[in-house]
């Protein structure tokens, strides 16, 4: 069965500190993984996807098939990074399977 686990409901870090939001998945096939972000009063939007291997707003995420993980990282957190982050798993079908989300709070 497909499953996405985000173990932290809330993550609080200081501005300038490194941040890592954890995501683990279970899927027997070849996964497509995404990070979506929802800023306060804004719609949910794609942050990054593993196949593009790019850095968006300083965030990166590496797919580790051995550990079945897709953790989101940023070396120096900014206050504007405070948001709700969702990890999502796609397959060869159409729907995405979302994790329960992690609320990131970056304090000055």
């Amino acid at each position: 069965a497909q499953r996405v686990t985000q173990p932290e409901k809330l993550l609080s870090v200081f501005k300038g500190a490194p941040v890592e939001l954890k995501c683990n998945y279970s899927y027997s096939g070849s996964p497509e993984l995404f990070w979506y972000v929802q800023y306060s009063r804004q719609r949910l939007q794609l942050l990054l996807r593993h196949i593009s291997r790019e850095s968006i707003k300083g965030f990166t995420a590496d797919l580790n098939k051995g550990e079945t993980s897709f953790h989101l990282k940023k070396p120096f957190a900014q206050e504007e990074d405070s948001a709700m982050y969702y990890c999502a798993l796609g397959n060869s079908g159409y729907a995405l399977n979302f994790g329960k989300g992690t609320s990131l709070l970056v304090t000055p």
């Binding site: 985000q6 409901k9 497509e32 995404f34 719609r43 949910l44 939007q45 794609l46 996807r49 969702y86 796609g90 159409y94 729907a95 995405l96 399977n97 979302f98 994790g99 329960k100 989300g101």
Partner: protein, 115 residues
């Protein structure tokens, strides 16, 4: 610019009422989705549609139905609203194939309160 719109931002209904939530996308996307978003539960898929008049149940379809008569419009119907359907409802769309495969574009959400 990609646009997914939802008919209402806020909606208040009474128990037992029939409720319609409308979603329109202007990107000519094949796939459309309805989720509900609840604190601590994340996004849960209610229904999705991969073509006009086609629909598939998601993880929590009970108490809901959908309609897709036109490619750009996907409606969520609560046949008889109940208080446990109070939630934020998100619509999304995606295309099939191409470089944006599986990327979903979301609407602003409809916060439904059932009294």
């Amino acid at each position: 610019d990609v646009k997914v719109t939802q008919s209402s931002r806020y909606l208040v209904k009474r128990t037992g009422e029939k409720v319609f939530l409308e979603c329109v996308q202007d990107m000519d996307h094949e796939n459309m989705f309805w989720y509900r978003q609840d604190p601590g539960l994340g996004l849960r898929l209610i229904y999705f549609s991969y073509d006009v008049k086609m629909k598939e149940k998601g993880d929590i379809p009970e108490g809901y139905s959908v309609s897709r008569e036109k490619k750009e419009r996907f409606s969520l119907i609560l046949e008889s609203a109940s208080t446990n359907q109070t939630s934020m409802y998100l619509c999304a769309s995606s295309m099939t194939g191409g470089s944006f495969y599986n990327e979903q574009f979301f609407g602003p959400g409809t916060r439904l309160t059932v009294l």
